[in-house]
């Protein structure tokens, strides 16, 4: 056995705090190591060529690269050794950057630690076995979760690429938050005018199957072959019959239902179509407000409906779909302003959220685009916008910037002046964050052309005084407290993860960060992939971002899906469990513990019962391996012997 070891400098990233030459020198003393060298950038083209040349020149049969995290470059180097004729599993990485040079300050200790990491990797690689992947057929249908602008874009791009798409949307209509917006920055074009056609495309595309008012119940399978259970929630209206005529809504006597589309700006009916441009344009009963459900009598809608679509007995329905790839575009939520007690959030009617203000500005909103104060329906003259409301606020658990509120505040201030030329807007801000193309020019216009007064400082309190709301904040540039007597206060409340985001992540086996936004594979280089192959991200589900960025990610996720689905077969990862049938005593403990039901029992010819792994189902977790009392089932590439070799290399010397 001849092991070759390549120790990377990573410029100064490693060499700065690790004596790489010394590591190479010590490595040469390890039994089995035939060759060891340190090099500036191992992953560069000459770096990889050097590995290939050394394999040929010195007849190396196992390779170790001591460099960055295997999560970064394992795949790169596996390809390299394969090109040089070795099995790609005759390769190991020692992480001497993320786990060593970047976190330790003492050069001597770091160098020593790096040598240890190399020693363990060498021990492991000497135990490695060649593994070969097998290929399996790919289901070319796609599931998109969330029908906001990001999800719709992904669905349309995949469908235009020729694949069937299943689009699951939680609420009764697609459109997401963008469907609620009035105009959009920085061009101030009408939101629904640009979104509406996309929504119609989604509805009319032959290859898109839309499940509105539905949620993903269960996800089974693996990349290329998922089985999805979808819960179609009861609407109490047979959508195959409903024409969206709206007569039921007109006549329904229950008038105080919470309107989640309008964020409670005005009440709606117990049976309703969320908004005029809704897709699908179908009615739905909200049983918490419907008298038929709460009091047991009414039935007006059933009587009035010309197509007899109403069905009070309807129940949730579960359907199953099979797909090969998944795009998650479940969007975002907004911070509950009751958390901002000092702003009287939720207590004072004239302190509202920015999304409620969008609905007030919107010509098809509940006030037909007239800006009025909720308390007395009078037109406000002085409007105060409070930015970073809850954002960048550790004390309430939102340490991050919500990304787009600076921009929409400028937009709303401009629109306020457009609607009411004699009004005056103020904005309390900490920083104006407007780095996009044309964005800073836009926030400047809000100040220069539209006369919005920007005040640099946070607001500490908002309280009523007569008919006014007093906003008391700091002007840190003046160095003192300022008070404004406002008619209406608009809070730019923080963007949060979508409600239920963690639960959805758990179904999909993808990770989420401490703020419940989904985690991408790599923050720079793989922004729309997840660590679960076959699952992709788009839009605000990954983190707050504006419409252009959401749409960009929707298309990027679709491109990733299309490139994956361009192959008819995928190769599996051969690092899966394997049963040694001679050693197996047929206790079937592994069958019970496998989280993926990947193990079945098999009767051999002699009548002996043993365990058998279904290759395509095994996900490679290794739970079975540590369950088996006989060591009969071994997770390849992480066998007991291989891991113990590492333990011994670290502990026995």
């Amino acid at each position: 056995m001849k092991v070759g070891v390549f120790i990377c400098h990573c410029g100064n990233n490693i060499a700065g705090t690790v004596d790489v030459a010394r590591v190479a020198e010590e490595t040469r003393k390890i039994p089995g190591v035939a060759y060891a060298i340190n090099y500036m950038y191992t992953c560069s083209e000459p770096g990889q060529d050097q590995i290939k040349d050394a394999i040929k020149k010195y007849d190396l049969d196992r390779i170790v690269v001591a460099a960055c995290s295997p999560r970064m470059h394992e795949l790169t180097f596996r390809r390299t050794v394969e090109k040089a004729g070795l099995n790609r599993y005759y390769f190991e990485m020692a992480n001497i950057r993320e786990h060593c040079s970047w976190i330790g300050e003492d050069r001597e200790l770091n160098t020593n630690k790096a040598m240890e990491a190399v020693r363990a990797a060498v021990a492991k690689v000497m135990q490695d076995k060649p593994l070969y992947s097998s290929s399996f057929a790919v289901n070319k249908r796609v599931l998109v979760i969330g029908g906001g602008v990001a999800g719709m874009q992904a669905a349309l791009d995949c469908a235009d690429g020729g694949h069937e798409v299943v689009l699951v949307e939680k609420s009764p209509s697609v459109g997401g938050m963008m469907a609620r917006l009035d105009k959009t920055f920085p061009t101030i074009d009408c939101s629904i005018c640009i979104l509406g056609p996309k929504m119609v495309d989604v509805a009319q595309h032959d290859l898109i199957k839309l499940y509105a008012y539905s949620e993903v119940e269960e996800v089974k399978g693996y990349v290329g072959n998922y089985q999805i259970k979808i819960r179609k929630k009861a609407t109490y209206v047979d959508w195959t019959k409903c024409t969206g005529c709206g007569e039921c809504m007109e006549k329904c006597p229950s008038k105080d239902a919470y309107d989640s589309f309008n964020f409670g700006v005005a009440p709606t009916k117990a049976i309703n179509i969320p908004f005029p441009q809704a897709i699908p344009k179908k009615a739905k009963i909200d049983p918490t407000y419907c008298r038929q459900f709460t009091k047991g009598k009414c039935g007006v809608c059933a009587k009035i409906c010309p197509t007899k679509a109403i069905n009070y007995e309807m129940e949730d329905e579960i359907v199953t779909e099979e797909v090969g790839a998944i795009v998650v575009a479940s969007g975002y939520g907004l911070l509950d302003i009751e958390k901002m007690g000092e702003y009287g959030g939720g207590r004072y009617p004239d302190v509202i959220t920015a999304i409620q203000y969008e609905r007030l500005l919107n010509a098809s909103g509940p006030t037909s685009g007239h800006i009025v104060r909720p308390s007395d329906h009078e037109e406000p003259k002085t409007v105060v916008f409070v930015s970073c409301c809850g954002s960048r606020d550790k004390s309430i658990g939102v340490p991050y910037c919500s990304n787009f509120c600076c921009m929409y505040i400028a937009k709303q201030a401009i629109l306020t002046k457009d609607h009411m030329p004699d009004s005056q807007s103020y904005v309390f801000y900490m920083d104006i964050r407007s780095p996009g193309k044309g964005y800073d020019e836009f926030t400047r216009r809000a100040q220069e052309e539209y006369g919005t007064k920007y005040i640099r400082g946070r607001v500490s309190r908002i309280f009523p005084k007569g008919k006014k709301m007093v906003v008391r904040g700091a002007d840190t540039l003046l160095g003192t407290t300022v008070e404004i007597e406002a008619d209406l206060v608009v809070l730019a409340n923080a963007v949060t993860a979508a409600p239920g985001a963690p639960q959805l992540a758990e179904k999909l086996h993808i990770s989420y960060d401490t703020n419940a936004f989904y985690v991408e594979s790599h923050p720079k280089l793989r922004p729309v992939e997840t660590n679960t192959s076959g699952v992709f991200l788009a839009g605000c589900a990954q983190g707050p971002k504006d419409i252009p960025a959401s749409v960009g990610q929707g298309s990027a996720a679709a491109a990733k899906v299309l490139s994956m689905l361009s192959k008819d077969f995928l190769e599996n990862d051969p690092a899966i469990a394997q049963v040694n049938q001679n050693a197996c005593v047929g206790c079937l403990k592994c069958v019970k513990t496998c989280p993926f039901q990947a193990i079945v029992e098999e009767e051999l010819r002699g009548g002996k019962v043993v365990a058998k792994v279904i290759q395509t189902v095994c996900a490679g977790c290794g739970v079975c391996t540590s369950t088996c009392p006989c060591g009969a089932i071994q997770l390849q590439h992480f066998t007991d012997n291989q891991l113990l070799a590492e333990v011994n290399a670290l502990c026995l010397s």
């Binding site: 640099r456 946070r458 309190r461």
Partner: protein, 198 residues
């Protein structure tokens, strides 16, 4: 406006001292101004509280410790309650006052005198003797007529005792003061020693 030379006047040891004594990291303040906006005393302060935080960040020891603001702060806790960065600002103000007191810097002399009158009464009696405090305070500040208008109401309604209420455990309380004074003296001596050798 004064020009501040940050290369020569920023006192790193002062920043460290505030950090250590208050347990708060001044660097966590991002200068949003919320504390200033909420502080009921901003109109009386010479430097609003967020600016005190900024001056600490800039290591401006003298300006901070000679400010009126640190004496006028009433520890009302508004700033602490609302600071988005979870800085216990009121405790920082308190700490600054402690340091200033130790260094003999009293920019608001009347307040310092009032506090001392209070603590003297506490030390002597174990409890507070309100009339005693008032008399002690007036004798020192010579504000003899301050609050005289309240006199009739206070006395007629017998809001104030004429006799100090002394407790049995007076000596125990006095021991607290004594051990405290010794401890601080020792520290001072140690510090001086260290400065000499260091």
């Amino acid at each position: 406006m004064r020009v501040i030379n940050l290369s020569t006047t920023s006192d790193a040891s002062f920043i460290e001292q505030v950090k250590k004594e208050s347990g708060q990291d001044p660097a966590e303040c991002y200068q949003c101004g919320n504390c200033t906006a909420g502080c009921p005393y901003t109109e009386f302060f010479d430097y609003p509280v967020s600016m005190i935080m900024r001056l600490i960040q800039a290591g401006q020891k003298d300006t901070v410790l000679n400010s009126k603001a640190i004496w006028l702060c009433a520890t009302c806790e508004t700033c602490t309650t609302r600071c988005p960065c979870e800085v216990d600002v009121a405790h920082v103000m308190d700490t600054l006052r402690n340091i200033a007191y130790r260094e003999g810097r009293y920019t608001e002399k009347d307040i310092k005198t009032f506090y001392e009158a209070f603590l003297t009464s506490l030390k002597n009696n174990g409890r507070i003797y309100e009339l005693g405090i008032l008399m002690g305070y007036k004798a020192k500040t010579l504000h003899l007529l301050a609050d005289a208008d309240l006199g009739p109401n206070v006395l007629v309604k017998r809001l104030i005792h004429f006799q100090p209420n002394k407790i049995e455990g007076r000596d125990e309380v006095q021991r607290i003061f004594k051990r405290f004074a010794e401890k601080r003296d020792n520290e001072k001596r140690d510090n001086q020693k260290r400065d000499h050798h260091g």
